[in-house]
């Protein structure tokens, strides 16, 4: 090995030593003692940020270190389907849940005026939440949806003077879904009522008001009896089929 002059660059000039010193070991620098610079601004700021974040996290999620709280208040599980029967029920959505889901989608049309929670806008657009019209019979609601309203109009004793264009272009099913949605979501249902409006009922309304060409005024709507319901079979909320 030692006859290869390149390999072992023996540093011992005095000779005598047979220490095999490879170049890598020779050229290596010494390890200098660590510098004593103080901690500078950048890392300090970063550290402070991390500490604030972590402390906030701990405050928000630790729930006072109580042993009996398992779910933090930040956890909001999706609601399980009504009448849940374990996973089998979860796999297939009950008819009414799907109907409401679709209704909520159609309701996006109404959000600009009536607001996501049906609160309306004071002086401009009336609320749907607990409005006498929503709480009342379905015939009036069908009439409003299909022909619109214009002019002075009172809702729960508050006057409005504006226009709502008719929604007859939506199609019967969608009108039925959105009416079901606003009644069940925003209305107060009477004893024994399920708030469901079916496609069949909307069809009947279309038939009933087909000759009308102008939007309603308040007097015209109030002429329809408050508790008048659109004709149509009641359905089973689980299946959507006519109930016996």
């Amino acid at each position: 090995m030692s006859d290869n002059p390149d390999k072992n660059l023996d540093y011992e000039a005095e000779g005598g030593s047979v220490v095999d010193v490879h170049d890598a070991v020779r050229r290596e620098k010494v390890l200098p003692p660590t510098g004593k610079e103080p901690i500078s601004f950048g890392p300090l700021i970063l550290t402070a940020l991390v500490l604030i974040l972590g402390a906030g996290y701990l405050g928000a999620y630790s729930n006072g270190f109580r042993d009996d709280i398992y779910v933090t208040k930040y956890y909001r599980p999706d609601p399980r389907p009504a009448g849940a029967g374990g996973d089998a029920a979860a796999e297939k959505l009950a008819w009414i849940d799907q109907w409401m889901k679709d209704g909520k989608k159609v309701y996006n049309n109404c959000v600009p005026c009536h607001g996501p929670a049906g609160a309306g806008q004071p002086g401009l657009f009336p609320p749907l939440k607990d409005s006498e019209w929503v709480n009342g019979g379905t015939t009036r609601l069908g009439a409003i949806m299909l022909k619109g309203i214009s002019g002075p109009f009172t809702v729960n004793g508050v006057g409005y003077n504006n226009i709502m264009a008719p929604w007859d272009t939506l199609g019967d099913e969608k009108v039925a879904q959105v009416l079901t949605y606003i009644r069940r979501e925003f209305g107060t249902l009477k004893e024994g009522e399920d708030g469901i409006v079916t496609t069949e009922m909307v069809k009947a309304a279309r038939e009933q008001f087909k000759d009308r060409t102008t939007p309603w005024d308040e007097a015209g709507l109030r002429a329809i009896p408050e508790d008048s319901m659109l004709p149509g079979a009641k359905v089973d909320p689980q299946t959507g089929q006519p109930a016996q």
Binding site: E28, L31, P32, T34, E37, G54, Y61, N63, R80, A90
Partner: protein
Amino acid sequence: MSLDLNQATPEDIRERAAIDRSVRYPVLFFFTSAAAWLFVATLLGFLSGLKLRVPTLWEDCPWLGYSRLFPVHMLALVYGWAMQAGLGVMIWLMARLTRNELKNPVTVIVAGHLWNAGVAVAVITVWAGLGRSMPWLDFPVWVAPLLFIGYLMVTLWLIPMFRARRAGEVYVSEMYLIGAALWFPWIFATANLLVGDEGAATMSTGINAWYMSNLIYFWFAPVALASAYYLVPKIAGRPIHSYPLAQVGFWALAVLAGWTGFQRYVGGPFPAWIPAVSGAASIFIIVAVVAAGANFWFTLRGRQKLWEYSPTLRFTLFGVLMFLAYAVLSGVSSFFSLSQVLQFSHFVVGLDTLAVYGFFSMAAFGAIYYIVPRITGCEWPSPTLIRGHFWFSTYGIGTVVLTMLVGGFAQAGQMNQWDQAFVRSVEVANGWIVGRIVAWLLIAAANLGFFYQLALMFIGRGRRSAGPTLIHAEPGSVGSAEEAVALAGAGGHH
């Protein structure tokens, strides 16, 4: 006496050479057998990805099922490769730092065989279907003592070495090494005693997550940082910027690491404060990483160009950078809004891979590129292969992390929809799984060159001329990365 304080005296050099010679065989043993395990792990990573993508493949063979391939891949990667390479780095570093020769190379080699036997038995038993289904702890509990004793037989020698250290201030690398040496037996024993058939099922899961996080912060991190704190100043030729900063980094890690882990099951069936404490610790611990990263940054300020030439520096710094990425991702993903979505998705696999390969393995490669020439007496043969090793590894780890992150979001989005069939989440993630297959192919390509070079070095067939192998320089043409930078700078001005 040389005027340049950075230049070693003849006595220093003689001492160094003696130390390196004393650890030569154990360290080489660890590095080469680690590399062999890395090869196995890479192959298994590829196969398990393939199996996940095409589940109908090899349908009749339980040995090639994902539920065995993946755990075996992880065991080979974590214990076979990463920890074993780390043990080699620890021994060499401790000997160098404390200026002690290793007195018992034979015991350490025996211990190394024990460790390898442990890993082999772990791999075989899990592969045969005897696994515990606990990530990183899949092996049957009776395998644990093999690994445990093997480990102690190696690291126990570090303590007398440390006690016989040269006088003066304790260097931060020494603190990290002693920490790592002692923390692992604690977490490993705790996890093995509490996880599994005997423990309560729910707690087992939590402790399992605690163990994984602790292995990263209490072992991989200190070993990699010890190596970085030693190698960065050596290559930069200047001292580590700030001692206080280094202390902050060490103590933050020491105090916080043990609290991390449970945040993986935020919202799980534990009293809510447990994952909350873990989550907060995993956020606070970012301080430890920032401190180390900032210290290296300031140390190298004005000399960043060294990174282009020195393989050691390049791999080491990339590792530190990935450590930062890991710490930030794991801290951020413990927030409820994210964790609620991501916690059972591929994201988690991406994060684990980031820690073991992107961070630790890269840092270990850096150390290996530095150490092996010194203990074998020859230089790495090919700068091209080193460069390939770096870039293919980078692409590989980038692919895993990105696809698993995005795929994890896609998968989890579907998984959390209760009115959706579960199979949707599988279908949605399926495309992203390709990322895992490609990544392990890239990593395999990267490491082939590494294995080849390491084998040459092992049998003493490395390059025989003087001068280091640097990435962008004719082998042996310059004496150091610093010279290479100076030369390139001079060339640039003409």
